[in-house]
């Protein structure tokens, strides 16, 4: 499903974000990507949906060498990858419905299917009844649910979540983590970046730990690695 071979990413002028990363993530896995701030978690995820390309090495997602596919095929790759962004990236002056329907709209799904699909995912994340609220006026936890609903509305094979509980209180963070676990149970491969030790330790899944851009631990089932 996801394979990285000798992947390094160096940002200009010479900040090393990832260094010789080799890893394979199989279909249906749930992987925590942990590490201190600046360890390279976001960069790892961005390479997978081709927001960035590696400086060297190969990133293979769903059987395609992501850096080599032509630009015009990138949208079709992204339709198979749901992403929950660290900063949500919601359209704050549009409604919850519009935000969740957005991926369906821009991929030219017929209105009938949009009307069927949006309520289904809103129910899945517990936001039924919020359709007409503007995204910007919701609480942080609610916005994260909207982001989650949007990321799964296209039924992606892979779900990437970048610190989805980072800005939330413990109770809300748990609910979001449970929702992601629920999405995983329904068959998606999930990669979730986090530095929340108790969530990692509670779910007991595979843990890949990054330090200064290198993988320093990869265990299943893993526990959170505390930096010395």
């Amino acid at each position: 499903m996801i394979t990285l071979i000798g992947v390094s990413k160096v940002y200009r002028p010479r900040r090393v974000a990832l260094l010789d990363v080799n890893v394979h993530i199989g279909k249906g896995e749930f992987v925590f990507l942990t590490g201190a701030s600046g360890a390279g978690k976001s960069t790892f995820l961005r390479l997978l949906y081709r927001e960035q390309t590696p400086t060297s090495g190969q990133v293979i997602v769903l059987g395609q060498d992501v850096a080599r596919i032509p630009m015009r095929k990138v949208p079709y790759l992204r339709r198979q990858i749901g992403v929950v962004f660290q900063d949500y990236k919601l359209l704050s002056d549009k409604t919850v419905w519009d935000n969740v329907a957005f991926p369906l709209l821009v991929t030219e799904h017929p209105p009938r299917e949009i009307a069927r699909r949006v309520p289904a995912v809103l129910e899945q994340v517990g936001l039924l009844g919020y359709e007409k609220n503007r995204a910007g006026e919701l609480s942080g936890g609610e916005q994260q649910r909207v982001a989650l609903a949007r990321s799964i509305v296209l039924n992606p094979a892979i779900l990437l979540a970048d610190e989805p509980t980072g800005n939330l209180d413990a109770g809300t963070a748990r609910i979001i983590a449970d929702l992601i676990q629920d999405i995983h149970r329904r068959g998606s491969t999930v990669v979730m970046a986090t530095h929340s030790d108790w969530i990692v330790n509670r779910l007991r899944q595979r843990v890949i730990h990054l330090r200064h851009g290198r993988i320093v631990a990869d265990e299943y089932p893993g526990r959170y690695v505390h930096e010395a």
Binding site: M71, R72, R78, K89, L105, T107, E108, L154
Partner: protein, 296 residues
């Protein structure tokens, strides 16, 4: 493409026009100005061409005779004139008849005629010649010129030449002006669309991340430019139509002998060009902006 997608594009394009505010208005106006100039040039050129053709089809020419022409030679002269190939008809016009005609044309109280009455008739005797085919005007004129006692041959060739030169001049200068205005309006549209792109940069980034194709992202902006072009062309056409209709009536009253084309005939032709020009300017402006500011 699905109708629902088109509805989305149109809604977004209209949103872009509205959020552009005054700049959108400037875009449409810039296109109006360019296209109105194009319309003026076209209307002028088409009319001049028409005038040239009308004049060309007047098959008359006049051979003015020497001042001291001896009228006992009249029959001899007329025989020679009528012997020239392609001369259909020839009429001898005495200087008295010539003056009489001028009086009828200008009215009896003309200053010119008063002057003529004092200093004597300024006109020479003349032969009016009608040719059977406009292509032989030059040939006939040359033959007339060789006849003894013919001082000068006047026919519409000079007027035709002058009209043709005028038409070419107006066309060249006009088109240069139109191109200049077109470039300016292209930039205005490009600027407006650029602003829409800037206002939407966040939305566009998200569209890309959730799997929108580049063409899907571009269409609303192309349509925005298209709308500017359409509105601009419509307004320019309205102005051209109103202005030209008004002018035709005035010319009809004041200068009835000037052959102008009817508005319907001219403007149908002009309308096509304005529409094409408007759409090219609008969509072209969008394309300029999309290439520079929407790296998708």
């Amino acid at each position: 493409m699905k109708p629902s997608t088109w509805i989305y594009y149109l809604r977004e394009a209209w949103q872009g026009v509205r959020s552009g505010g005054l700049l959108s208005l400037a875009s449409a106006l810039a296109i109006v100005v360019s296209l109105a100039a194009l319309a003026v040039v076209m209307i002028l050129a088409v009319n001049l061409q028409h005038m040239t053709r009308v004049v060309e089809n007047q098959l008359q020419m006049v051979a003015y005779l020497v001042e001291d022409f001896d009228r006992t030679w009249q029959d001899e002269l007329m025989r020679k004139v009528k012997a020239i190939p392609h001369v259909k008809q020839a009429t001898f016009v005495t200087r008295e008849e010539g003056l009489q005609r001028l009086q009828d044309q200008l009215g009896s109280d003309s200053v010119l005629l008063e002057a003529a009455a004092e200093s004597g008739n300024p006109l020479p005797d003349a032969v009016e010649v009608e040719v059977d085919d406009p292509r032989y005007m030059g040939q006939v004129a040359a033959a007339l010129g060789t006849i003894e006692s013919v001082e000068e041959v006047a026919y519409r060739r000079d007027i035709v030449n002058r009209l043709t030169a005028l038409t070419d001049g107006i066309r060249n200068v006009g088109l240069a002006l139109v191109l200049l205005l077109a470039a300016a309006s292209l930039l205005t549209v490009a600027n407006t669309v650029r602003l829409t792109i800037y206002a939407r940069r966040r939305e566009i980034a998200i569209m890309k991340l959730v799997g929108a194709t580049n063409s899907f992202i571009r269409w609303p902006f192309l349509l925005e430019g298209f709308l500017f072009g359409l509105v601009g062309a419509g307004l320019a056409l309205a102005i051209a139509w109103g202005g030209y209709s008004w002018l035709v009536v005035r010319v009809g009253e004041g200068l009835p002998f000037v052959p102008v084309l009817s508005p319907d005939a001219v403007l149908l032709q002009v309308a096509q060009w304005l529409l094409v020009g408007g759409v090219l300017l609008g969509v072209g402006g969008s394309v300029v902006s999309l290439r520079r500011f929407l790296r998708v």
